[in-house]
């Protein structure tokens, strides 16, 4: 379980996180939604120790990771995998080298074991046989899938997704949504998704939390969320409900 307690962060005079409190349960998909500039990405960076808060705690299985030194934060990060918005693939390496990178850094495996594991992860993200492609030869959706294969190659307990469907066409978005759900089932870990895609959120989430102006203003199941009377939630939900039939939830 990840527990965020009264997390505050400012950049200069601008306060981005104004006391975030949130519990992220184990073994579920939690989606944190919010408009652009609401502090979602900053919150995600805190979850993995890329940013230090001004105050507050982030408890991962009871350990406060907000103020750990570089040695201990490394050990915590071994439990995480993260898919960046654009994949953040190393552009000097091909797909194989990208996915093999965490294995070479943290596991003592021979080349044959690495090859087999990379092939397995590529199959898992529906991209078999793309080992030799360079990142600039991949479409946006493919880059995200390779990024996901790299994020899960060490079988992390917690996977973070930063805007996984941003910039993708509806078909690619749906396939990424499906991958998030299937990866969650496969690893049986904790999944945190940062998104502003309400359709995808309601489709894949077990829990939804809405971040607005640096605070969590609503949280609950997708069904709770759909009936939440909070005007901020409504202003986020209603346009989506008005303009499109909301998709059915993935079982």
């Amino acid at each position: 379980m990840i527990e965020i307690q009264d997390l505050k962060k400012s950049f200069g005079s601008q306060m981005v996180l104004k006391g975030v409190n949130l519990v992220i349960p184990d073994g579920q998909i939690t989606v944190i939604i919010g408009a652009s500039g609401s502090g979602k990405s900053v919150l995600l960076k805190h979850l993995i120790g890329l940013s230090q808060p001004d105050s507050g705690k982030i408890l991962v299985s009871g350990t406060d990771i907000a103020h750990l030194d570089s040695y201990h934060i490394k050990n915590v990060r071994m439990r995480f995998g993260m898919l960046f918005q654009d994949g953040a693939l190393f552009d000097s390496m091909n797909v194989y080298e990208n996915i093999a990178f965490p294995l070479r850094e943290h596991r003592r495996m021979n080349e044959e074991e690495i090859r087999l594991l990379v092939a397995e992860k590529l199959k898992q993200v529906n991209l078999p046989g793309t080992e030799k492609k360079m990142p600039n030869e991949l479409s946006g959706g493919m880059r995200k899938r390779v990024g996901l294969a790299r994020a899960i190659v060490l079988n992390p307990e917690i996977i973070l997704y930063d805007e996984p469907t941003t910039g993708l066409d509806p078909v690619s978005s749906q396939s990424i949504d499906d991958l998030i759900v299937s990866t969650q089932k496969h690893l049986n870990g904790t999944t945190v998704v940062i998104s502003h895609d309400i359709r995808a959120t309601l489709r894949i989430a077990n829990k939804v939390a809405m971040l607005h102006d640096g605070k969590i203003v609503a949280e609950g199941t997708p069904d709770d969320f759909l009936t939440n009377p909070n005007p901020i939630v409504r202003s986020f939900l209603d346009p989506a409900i008005l303009h499109a039939k909301l998709p059915s939830r993935k079982s």
Partner: protein, 256 residues
Amino acid sequence: MKKFVSFLGGNVTGALNEFGGFMLTLIEGVRALFSKPFRLNLIFKEMEFIGVNSTIIIMVTGVFTGAVLALQSGKAFRLFNAEGVTGAVVALSLLRELGPVMTSLMIAARCGSAIAAHIGTMRVTQQIDALEVMAVDPISYLVAPRIVASLGMVPLLSIIFNLLGILGSYAVGVMLLEINEATFFDRIYAYVKSEDLWNGLVKAAVFGVIIAVVGCRKGFMTEGGAEGVGRATTQAVVVSSVTILIADYFLTALMF
């Protein structure tokens, strides 16, 4: 007056901050060198990039620097029948100053810019964040190998520059200006000491570290997409070139 003092103060503070940043990068880079894992593959890869791939350009620059020095000094010395010392003057200039300085400026332009652009691009495309998320220390992965490679390769390239420079001066001095060959070499043996070479190599090593540290630091501090990468690249070349020239003065004052 108030505005001037404020402007001056701002610039001094900025320069000190920048210097502090470079020193921190250097200290962290050196610390990473002595912690596991040891990244020999990356060091060799950077040595190839900084050293092997720069050899041709250093050879060409060296030959023509030596040649033009011999042409200018040979003609000047001939005015008072002292053209015999042309070889020695060129060799001393190359070993003490021009070899390390010109080599370093060329490497700053060729490799310092590339280091800043590479790391800067990694920064703005979140590849450095990805390294950190994968529990890989970016300093150990990106900075330390470049410091070692540059520290080792710039002095070697400086030796090549010196040799080719002397060859260029020989071609112009002996073959074009018809200076007696024996006198040409005899004066070199008489005036050039081994410490001229060693001191020049120490300078080149220091300049090598400056190129790597400035390039890495500028890359790491990149902000703002493609424009930011362009800015970081330009700054890396300008700052490392100016720093090399300033450091050269102080090193010369200490050594000679």
